[in-house]
Subunit: 350 residues, 2 copies
């Protein structure tokens, strides 16, 4: 097995920097679009373990990636809690039954993962089997705050007025909501671990829209709870947990002390600074600006080189984008990036 | 005259913390919507000095604000450079002739402010006169990087793919564009100063989307050039310059050393940290999360109190939002905020 990814998180020496890309299985690949067409809809794809497995493996056929990540959506958990998720073509996610009132929140319960989210754990088991040990498989969940954003807003939002108002006006209600979501996330990640996931990611897409005191109270607190409470093996067998957050640069010290094994960062902080501030307590994952993939191949290589130089020598860095890929990106550019990471990183591991 | 705002920037003692709000003249006010209807269009309003004066003064009739800010748009400069600005109803700004190629950039020149932007300096003179010294008048411009974003993208953007690609693929071209825009911004701000503006703001709305090395090369460099090259009087007569940037928290030390008299910050950093990191070199302006205005009046007061406490005792803080107001905000909530700032800040100036 290619162990670069897991060795890097464990701080062990590697021959080259491992690389995978957030949303590496996605619409920019024609073979993904073909499978998606077979499935009929996005949720049709996400809820079908065979098809989810197929698209998870597609980018590994094209690129020398060092990890696979489960194809799924962060909103499966609130959907399983009964909110009624749908994706209109060309639009973002929508919940038919958003959470707005104390009564809405009181009704929420941790879903039965074994039945309601069986399609996810089945996909994890199947992908793990089909990978035949080629590369490790990453499972994931949205963060409690981020899931709560979609649950309260009912979908995406420009300004998060509803959830921020709820947090400020009714902090106790907000905490009640976040507690049941956190318990659900822990159960969900644990089920993925048991089904065969070899690393776990939590995506806190929207924590970075909060003022610091609100972030600490409503997002960081629950990320930390997950990092500390999630059962995931011990010692050499420990399944590492990586906390990613857009806009999490101000909180790197706190995230490094959360109990997670890795922290994913966006492109708004240099890896040099992130490494200095986390002091080797965690592995770092990131952080090329995804928009770089629209630039010329020579520019992509130069920016990969700069990112590697910013982290510097030694293990502990998983190369990734600072956020997910977009549907209009050029698959050939992805190959340039992945190959450049391996080629240009070797001197840093010599 | 109410000198709280200017005294605060000069670091002189004041009786209470001054407050004004970004986009305080705007669609959330019914009287603004009435004037806007008379004008026919947004640009019709912005280019008519009498009507621009009328809407600039409207929020001062309702609220005990400590400064007025010219009603205008940040995109007047590229419009005067010949790009053809328009605002479709319910959409963002659009340029008919975006800047995409080396030839487009070569054609750009500093506009003749005295003719092409006469409507702005006329508005400044008129507002200054109509204010009768009640409160100081703030003039403003977009930052070079932010103006270039709209010029290259042709309007708003989700990911700034065109301009980021230009900056990465063709850095020399990008600098040529930023140089002519910077010269234009300096001429524009200088003309507003000569017309009677008593403070000047530069809004760097989109600098914060850049990785640090790109921000420093393409945004901060030109902000610093403005701060150093803009003629604005000396000593007691100096017209202060405030640099605001969404997402500028990582660069506070550098902005404080730029030569500007003030730095405006968004809500993603505490004022306590901003004050510590800028070490009294500049006044700080900000930084309540604008979404707080959607919360209950008691919550607004509590968040005002928290913001004031975060800055702490003494002069040097101009209260503001961390970004502009939105059309669906409640005018009564604005009154709660403004009054709370004055009432709750007095102990910090005793």
């Amino acid at each position: 097995m290619n162990t670069r990814f897991l060795d890097t998180i464990a701080g062990k020496p590697v021959d080259a920097t491992p690389v995978w890309l957030m949303r590496q299985a996605g619409r920019y690949l024609p073979e993904y679009r073909a499978t998606r067409a077979k499935a009929g809809s996005f949720m049709g794809l996400a809820t079908n373990p065979e098809l989810a497995c197929e698209v998870t493996l597609q980018p590994l056929e094209r690129y020398d990636l060092d990890a696979a990540i489960l194809f799924s959506d962060i909103l499966t958990v609130p959907d399983a809690m009964g909110l009624g998720l749908s994706f209109a073509e060309g639009e973002g996610p929508r919940f038919a039954r958003p959470v707005r009132t104390a009564a809405d929140i009181a009704k929420l319960a941790v879903p039965d993962i074994g039945t309601e989210l069986r399609y996810v754990t089945d996909a994890v088991s199947l992908i793990r089997r089909e990978l035949h040990g080629r590369v490790p498989l990453i499972g994931f969940s949205g963060s409690p705050w981020t899931l709560a954003c979609y649950m309260v807003e009912g979908g995406g939002s420009d300004n998060f007025a509803r959830i921020k108002s709820l947090a400020l006006n009714e902090p106790k209600l907000m905490h009640r909501l976040l507690e049941v979501v956190t318990d659900s996330v822990i159960a969900y990640l644990h089920a993925q671990y048991q089904a065969g996931a070899q690393a776990l990611m939590v995506f806190d897409t929207w924590g970075g829209v909060l003022p610091p005191h609100v972030y600490r109270e409503f997002s960081l607190r629950y990320l930390t709870r997950i990092a500390q409470a999630l059962p995931r093996g011990e010692g050499e067998e420990r399944c590492p947990l990586i906390l990613f957050g857009k806009g999490n640069a101000p909180y790197l010290e706190e995230l490094a002390a959360s109990g997670a094994e890795g922290v994913g960062v966006d492109w708004l902080v240099s890896l040099e600074e992130a490494r200095r501030r986390t002091g080797g307590k965690v592995a770092l994952q990131g952080n090329l600006d995804p928009v770089t993939l629209y630039a010329e191949p020579d520019t992509i290589r130069a920016e990969v080189a700069r990112t590697l130089a910013s982290y510097g020598h030694g293990s502990g860095h998983v190369f990734n984008l600072g956020h997910g890929m977009s549907p209009d990106m050029n698959p050939d550019h992805v190959k340039v990036l992945v190959d450049a990471v391996h080629e240009l990183s070797r001197p840093y591991h010599a």
